[in-house]
Structures are given as C-alpha cells and as structure tokens.
C-alpha cells in the first residue's frame, strides 16, 4: 500500500504519521510539499496535524488555496482514500471534502489528553478493524475541535452512519460530560458520503506503541492497510 503525507509549512505531526504509516504498512510514505501541484499515484493521502499556514485567520482556512490541495481534492473526489487528522480534518472541511466546520473548543482552551472514543462505524476502510461500539483510547491535542454543521447535514451524517467516532465515557456513553470540546452530538470524526474520506480530531498516530501509552491507534492504520491491500 502506497501512501502520501501532505506537508504544509506549519504541519507538525507529519513525521508522526510518517512513522506510523511506515511501521504499519511497511512501505515508506511519500512526503509531498504543499507547493507541489502533482505527486505520484498513491492508495492513501494523509493530511497531518499542525498549523498549516500558521492558522492565524482560521484553522485550515488558507490550505485549500495551495497547489497541492487542488490535486488532493481532485483525487479524493475520484475516490482515493483520504485521511485528515486534527489540522488535517480542519483542512478537509475548509476544502469542502467534508461538511461542517471546527470551531474553537467550548472551553476556549487548548486540550491535550487521552480521551475515550466510541467507534460508531466499524465498516469503513478506516475503521474495519474496530468492533462496532468499541470504546478506544486516543489522545486529542487541539484548540479548534468543536464540530458544527447545520441540522440537515447533521441528520444526513447520523442517518448514513457517517459519524465514525464520538467522544464518550468509559462505558461508551456519549454523554455531555464526555464531550470535551462542545462538538454537536459528540462528533470526533466523520466520513464523506462515499466513505473514502475520514476526518477526525484525535490523533491515532500517537498511540501505536505500548510505550506511548497504548496501541488503540494502530487499528486505524491496520484497517486502511487491510482494506486498500485487498482492494
């Protein structure tokens, strides 16, 4: 399975996802610079966490205007698997590949900690190694992760099992208390309608080795590897 990691000047989780992909797929990912308008054919495009262009205007707002994103949008629309983590999720919404927006956290503060997520779609190419309803432990680190969309979009997401992950408590209850950032319906990650684009705020690439505090992030990359290798 071949993958590409898009590198914006302010990306800072590009190496982390590169390491995770190399470790789990066994193939060195291609690092693609934001100024490049073309790159080799890959099975997976990953948009890493960070602060794309400083994000002083709004998280991810500038990124869609970059040469590389024009190509990413085109390929994602053609069905190439595209994964956006944290800032990558923000960029995907700004680029129109996923609906909605990520606003400032309800508590107005940056939050970095392990959180519990419930897997609400375990059939996608990104999540098939998880059990439906499984509660997993994944860290978050963001200031703008408060997911918002209009009511019709929310209903569409809910009715089509496009909410891949929700913030929950240890029992799997997506309670108000477990909603760390004020996201609508505790949304932590969503899929596009075709199921080939996933955006999520938590960082699965940070928990792939027991010494990091767990391995619940591995299954996401194993899911992708399984789905795209067999395809």
């Amino acid at each position: 399975m071949k993958s590409a990691v898009i590198v914006f000047p302010g990306s800072n989780c590009d190496r982390d996802i590169q390491v995770a992909l190399r470790d789990i797929t066994g193939v060195e990912p291609t690092m693609v610079w934001h100024g490049d308008s073309d790159f080799e054919k890959v099975d997976l495009i990953a948009l890493p966490g960070g602060f794309s262009y400083g994000d002083y205007l709004r998280s991810g707002a500038m990124a869609p205007t970059s040469p590389v994103m024009k190509e990413v949008v085109k390929r994602a629309k053609d069905g190439v698997a595209t994964l956006g983590i944290c800032n990558g999720f923000q960029v995907l919404t700004e680029a129109g590949l996923l609906p909605g927006a990520l606003m400032r956290n309800a508590g107005l503060k940056f939050i970095c900690k392990d959180v519990k997520l419930r897997v609400d779609n375990s059939t996608s190419i990104f999540t098939n190694q998880y059990e439906q309803g499984e509660v997993i432990n994944i860290p978050v680190a963001h200031h703008d992760g408060n997911y918002f969309c209009d009511e019709d979009t929310l209903e569409t997401l809910e009715c089509n099992s496009r909410i891949a992950f929700r913030y929950c408590d240890e029992t799997g209850d997506a309670s108000h208390e477990a909603n760390i950032n004020g996201s609508l319906n505790n949304i932590a990650g969503i899929l596009n309608s075709k199921g080939n684009v996933l955006g999520l705020m938590p960082h699965p690439e940070r928990l792939i080795d027991p010494v990091q505090g767990g391995t619940d992030g591995r299954k996401m990359f194993e899911s992708i590897l399984g789905a795209l290798t067999n395809a």
């Binding site: 000047p9 995770a20 939050i111 970095c112 940070r206």
Partner: protein
C-alpha cells in the same frame, strides 16, 4: 524618534535613562576616545546591561563546576551540550522571561518559549522537549488568575504551534511573587555531535547574513528593562514586550536545520535580548574579528526605522549567520522555500570594530572588545544571610484530624494537580513522549527518536528553603532534580540553571545570590552533575520588595533503555512499599508548616550530598535490575504526600504502618528530610532491595503494601483514594473558573 533626536548631543539625563552610571559612561568615552553618538550609547547600554553583561553575577558564576567527561560544551555558547552516546548530543538551556510576562503575560511567556527554542536549534539541535518553571503571586492576589491564565496560554500557544512537546515543569504560588512573577522556559534538543554549530565568526570578507522575520520597533530596550527594578509605572513598559509568531519560528527551525545539513554555515547565533546588537557583537567578539554592517539591507517591517531602533529592536524569530562565500544562493533558496527573509547585511572585517553604515554614512564605529571585554564587572558587596532558629514543634498545637491535613495539602495551591496547566500544552506531539514520562510524574521522559534511549528531564527549586538558607536551598534545588531523574531510572548528567533574584545592589540580596551559587556549585561537584548553561535574572523586585530567591534548576539525564524506566504510580495489590533513606522528621521551612500553620520559619532540611549520590545510584541500580515497579522521590509534604501522589497516580490504595516510633506522627509523615525515595516492589524484590541496601549501609524500610481503595497510614489517616483525587484535581480548575465568573 526622529533623525534630529538621534543627532543630538548626549546629556547626563540620556545616560541615566539608558541605565548607565556616570563611571560607566566615562569608560565608554575612554574606550571610544570621544563621546558616543546616540546609536552608540544605545549599543553600549544594552551590551553593558546586567542582562547581557552579567556584571553583578559573573564573579560568582565563575565558581560553578562546568566540566565532566560527557560535557561537550559548557556555559558561554547559546546552550550547553552533553554527550548522550552513539554520536548524539543533548543541547539545552533554561532562560527567564519574567518582566515581560508580568506586563503582558501571553506574549511575554510565548516569546520566552520562542527565545529558548532558538538558543537550542541555533546550535544544530532539533528541539524535542520544552519545560518550564513558573512562580505566581499568592492565589488570593487580585492579579494571579489573570497572570496564570495568560502565561499558560502563551506557553501553549507558542509551543503547540511550533510542534515541540511541553513535557514538564513546576508551578508555585507565593506572595513574594505578587508583583514580579517568574516565567522560566527550558528547551532540550538533540543533535549529531559532528553537526553542532557555534557562534564564533571567522574568515575575513565572509558574508554576514540575516534570516527570519523582518525587524520592527518592538522590544526596544527589553534587555534594559530586564536589568532594573519594577515600579508602579511598569504598565507603561508594555511596548518593550516583544510579540511572537510561532509559525515563523517553526519555519525558521526547519529552514535552519535544512541549511545545517550542508556545509554552508561558518557560525550562527539567534537574535535574542538586544537583538542585532548582541548577536553581531557576540559573534565578532568570540571570533576576534570586526563586523561591517550596512543597515539599509536589514529587512524592515516598519518605515523610516533608524539605526538606533534597528540595533536595539527585539523583534522575534531572527537569526544571524556567517556563510561560506559562494553558498549564498544555495542558502537563500532554502529560506525562500520556507517563505523567510534572507539578506546579506555585511561582512567580516579585520578592523576589530563594529562598523554600521546607514544611508551612506557611518553611524557607529565601536571597538568590539570594549563592548564585551571592557564591560563592567562588579564584585558587589554582600552579607551572609542570617541563619534561622529551629522551629520548636512542641509549641504548636498538633492537628486533630490528619485526614484533613493531607486533603488540605494535596488539594491546596502548591501541591494540587497541575493537569489544568499541562492539558493546555501539547505534551505528545512528535510521538516520543513516553507514557510513564508524561507530565505529573517525577521527570519527563522523551524517547530519542529511533533509539531505545530516552532523556529524563525535570525542573525544580524550593524557594522556601533558599530563603531560609540560600546555601542549603541551592544544594537542595540541584539535589531534587537529581532525585527526580534518578527516580525514573535515568542517570542525571548535567543541569542548566535560571537564577532569579532581587536587586543585586542590595547586600542582602547579593548575599542570597552568592550563597545559593555556592550551594549549587557544591551539589554539582559532589553529584558529578555540572552546569552547562544558564541565565541570571536579577532585579526581580517591585517597589523595593524582592522575590524569594529562586534558583530554578533544569536537570537532564539519560536512560539507556526506556523499557526499564519506572513511573510513580502504584500498580498492583500486594506490592511492598519501601522508604529508602533516613527519616528524621525535619519540619523546618516545610510545606506542612506553611500551609497548615501559616508559618514560614525554621531552617531548611540539611542536604547530605553524599547520601543523595549513594541513594540515587542505589535506586537506579535497583530499577535497572528490574526490581522496582514504582518509584517516587520524597519532597514537599514528606512521606504522606508522596504516598498520596503514588496512590492517586495509580488509582489504588495503600496500607502503611505508622513507623513514627520516637518521632511525632507529624514529623514522621510530613517531615522533608532529603535523599529519600518511596519504592513499590513485588515482595521477593523488596527483600532483595532491603538486603542490598543493608550491605551498602543505606537505610531501607518496608512500611506497608499497595492495595485497596484507601490510603491508610497507621490509625491517623484513612482516606478514599477517590477523595484524595477529587481534592487534588479540583483545586486548579475551581480556582481558575472564578476568573471566568468575574469577567
């Protein structure tokens, strides 16, 4: 400022406004053989400021031990460098940004982080960890919440964006910081030993290159501000606080490291305090050369900037470097790729002078050695601090409810959980922060990427002790980092120090400084734990009130295999609990006296450095041999607080016997005797640890077992761990939530 103002004659008022004494001015005139012009006066004033020249502290700093076989570069460069094996080096330093953070907490703290990051990557290291040491005023002081909120947001705002994890630190509250908080930031980086960059300029005619952000008018006289006391009018100094841009810093790190992988750079230095002035002067001075700079080529953010402003600006995210001739285009392409300014602003000369031209005129021409070698150096008068009387504990009424005492301590301002703070810092970016080394433990542990090694890092100081006895307090600050690092299993290698004191012109403050330095030096010598970098921050006073002397120490250690490392959390029912080290019940200058009785009295605990070394080595060897399941140093709050912290971290109880014996319970449980650790181990391992300790003559006692849901200590303490956690975790959020209610 206008051109006319610059051209005016120098008056004694101007000299005083620049923080120079009459004698110092006379020396400037002597060095130049004429009166300086306004630009030159500005340059001398910052280079001769306390902040840049260390004129009051130098004589004492010279006494600190700075060498060990593993030290590659000690103090004097941008940061200290130590050997961590396999051809790699750890490069680190801690620096203060106190006054700016008090005036404008967000930007002050943010640019403090930015400055220390630059000190480290300037030397060729990729920064891998940030730490800090913060001191705020009393929790009930009207400004404290606002300052905590701004400083924490500023540190996070900068570090999170740059993508370097903030993995550790300490935060204290004390009324002595009401008008002068301390924000000390530390960065640790990793480099290949054959790719370390230094700042000494060399090579006639080689180009002097400016890279990074453009120069604006911000931060002019920051170094001078850091060299005077604060007063009521400090709000007016807001324009001297720099404004940070972490995105540009991120670009600068990547661009510099990319260029550093070639052989284009001769020397490099960041523009920190006193900006273009100190960077150019220090590079030229170290290389014994002159610099000719054309200020018309300096990238400028604002219009009509004058030489004085350009030379004194402290605009952030800028670097100065000397390139190999012919490499300019290659270097420029890298900086352009990262969207950063690149300008050749001058060349190295053999004049020995700093010569500045502007719009065709020479506007300053100063012998470099007069700015550095002739800078004032004072042996300021100091008096030995008065020693305190021991506290007579028999005169104090003993608490009736020791449960309440423990809850008050772990749920009070100084020992409560700092999660509210470090959850605002991205402490996991780079994916090398180890689970057991996340914030909240004894030392942060960060894996050295792609290896089995990890760095252990901790910042510590107990200002209560330093105030009570600067010599013992200085020793203790070093010893505590040594213990915190040892408690993870890592070997402590070297320290950086950030010495925060009051006005050095006061003999009693200078006495604190002199004795604390002696104590630090003594500890470093015995523990074989040298000082490789540091920073001095004096004049931490407001309206004549000095802070508690606060020599913050940042320690760095190495563990060869991170899988051997242990954390503080109790893990499994049935593990035996041991105390290593002698318990004598010392309560003088303790947190127990301060928080429970409101008393800041008595002598601090004596630090036996021999025991610190012996016990530290013993604990490390037991960890390395795999006998230890959890380990925690005993510090503030003694055995009782250490046990509570281990229970809370592991979410499991402990049943401990009251071993107070001939001591009173309060002295046994809350005494702060040094050189002690608590260890949890499986039973057979505990027996092995005790027998090995006995052979070595190290006190080690089994005091109980891990298990259950309560922490029980004899018949005096019995508290549900859940209640301890609730008290411990709720203090900071509840305290900070009151700010939101007000606003």
């Amino acid at each position: 400022m206008t051109k006319q103002e610059i051209a005016q004659e120098i008056t004694s008022e101007m000299v005083a406004e620049h923080g120079l004494t009459e004698d110092e001015f006379a020396n400037i005139v002597k060095a130049l053989g004429r009166d300086p012009n306004f630009t030159e006066l500005g340059i001398y004033s910052v280079m001769w400021s306390e902040h840049c020249s260390y004129k009051s502290s130098k004589v004492h700093l010279k006494k600190l031990p700075t060498e060990a076989p593993w030290v590659i570069c000690g103090p004097g460069e941008n940061a200290g460098v130590i050997d961590i094996g396999d051809g790699q080096a750890a490069i680190f330093k801690m620096e203060s940004h106190n006054h700016p953070s008090f005036i404008e907490p967000y930007q002050g703290a943010a640019t403090g982080v930015g400055g220390i990051l630059r000190d480290v990557f300037t030397m060729g290291a990729r920064p891998v960890a940030n730490l800090n040491a913060l001191r705020f005023g009393a929790a009930n002081h009207e400004k404290t919440r606002h300052l905590v909120s701004g400083v924490v947001a500023g540190i996070g705002g900068y570090g999170n964006c740059v993508g370097v994890p903030t993995v550790g630190g300490e935060t204290g509250f004390d009324a002595s910081y009401n008008g002068n908080i301390l924000v000390n930031a530390m960065t640790v980086g990793i480099a290949d030993q054959n790719k370390i960059f230094y700042s000494a300029a060399a090579g006639m005619g080689k180009p002097v290159v400016y890279v990074g952000s453009k120069t604006g008018r911000d931060g002019i006289h920051g170094a001078t501000m850091a060299s005077t006391e604060f007063s009521e009018d400090n709000e007016e100094k807001r324009p001297t606080v720099q404004v940070g841009d972490p995105f540009t810093e991120k670009l600068l790190i990547e661009a510099c490291l990319e260029l550093m992988s070639s052989d284009a750079i001769v020397a490099i230095q960041d523009m920190g305090a006193a900006g273009l002035t100190s960077s150019s002067v220090e590079m030229a001075s170290k290389g014994g050369v002159g610099f000719a700079l054309n200020l018309d080529h300096v990238p400028q953010r604002e219009e009509n900037m004058l030489p004085y402003e350009m030379m004194l600006s402290e605009s952030q995210e800028r670097m100065l470097m000397i390139l190999e001739p012919g490499k300019e285009d290659f270097a420029k392409a890298i900086f352009e790729k990262w969207g950063l300014d690149f300008a050749i602003i001058g060349e190295i000369t053999d004049s020995g002078n700093l010569t500045l031209s502007f719009q065709g005129d020479v506007v300053a021409d100063i012998p470099i050695n007069s700015l550095v070698d002739d800078a004032p150096e004072y042996e300021r008068p100091w008096i030995k601090p008065l020693s305190r009387k021991p506290v007579d504990m028999d005169e104090l009424e003993k608490p009736e409810d020791y449960n309440k005492v423990l809850l008050d301590l772990v749920g009070g301002p100084n020992l409560s959980s700092r999660a509210w703070i470090w959850e605002q810092y991205d402490h996991m970016v780079m994916a090398d922060t180890l689970k057991g080394g996340r914030p909240g433990g004894d030392a942060a542990l960060v894996r050295i990427h792609g290896t089995k090694k990890a760095l252990a890092m901790s910042t510590d100081c107990t200002p209560r002790y330093v105030e009570a006895d600067p010599f013992e307090g200085g020793k203790q600050a070093v010893a505590e980092t040594y213990r915190n690092i040892s408690a993870t299993g890592a070997k402590p290698l070297a320290i950086t120090d950030c010495l925060n004191f009051g006005n050095p012109e006061k003999p009693e403050v200078m006495g604190q400084f002199a004795k604390a330095c002696e104590g630090i030096g003594e500890a470093c010598r015995v523990l074989e734990y040298p000082v490789v970098s540091g920073n001095v921050s004096l004049y931490n006073e407001t309206n004549g009130e000095a802070i508690k002397p606060t020599p913050a120490i940042g320690g760095v250690g190495l563990i060869e295999n991170y899988e051997d490392a242990v954390s503080i959390d109790f893990k499994t029912d049935g593990h035996a609990i041991l105390v290593v080290g002698e318990t004598e019940g010392h309560l003088g200058a303790s947190i127990y006296l301060k928080e429970i009785f409101g008393l800041e009295e008595g002598e601090p605990p004596f630090v036996s450095l021999g025991q610190e070394k012996k016990h530290g080595e013993f604990v490390r060897s037991m960890i390395e041999q795999g006998h230890v399941r959890a380990c925690h140093d005993i510090s503030d709050g003694g055995i009782a607080v250490a046990l509570a912290e281990m229970c809370m971290a592991g979410d499991i109880g402990a049943n401990v016997a009251d071993e107070s014996d001939s001591l009173s319970f309060q002295a046994w449980a809350y005494g702060e005797d040094q050189a002690r650790y608590i260890i949890a181990a499986e039973e057979h391992c505990a027996a092995k640890i005790m027998s090995d300790a006995a052979i070595m003559g190290i006190p080690a006692f089994c005091i109980g077992t891990v298990g259950g849901k309560k922490l029980e200590i004899g018949n005096r303490i019995s508290i549900d761990v859940a209640d301890l956690k609730s008290a411990h975790q709720s203090w900071m959020p509840n305290y900070m939530a009151e700010e939101n209610k007000k606003s």
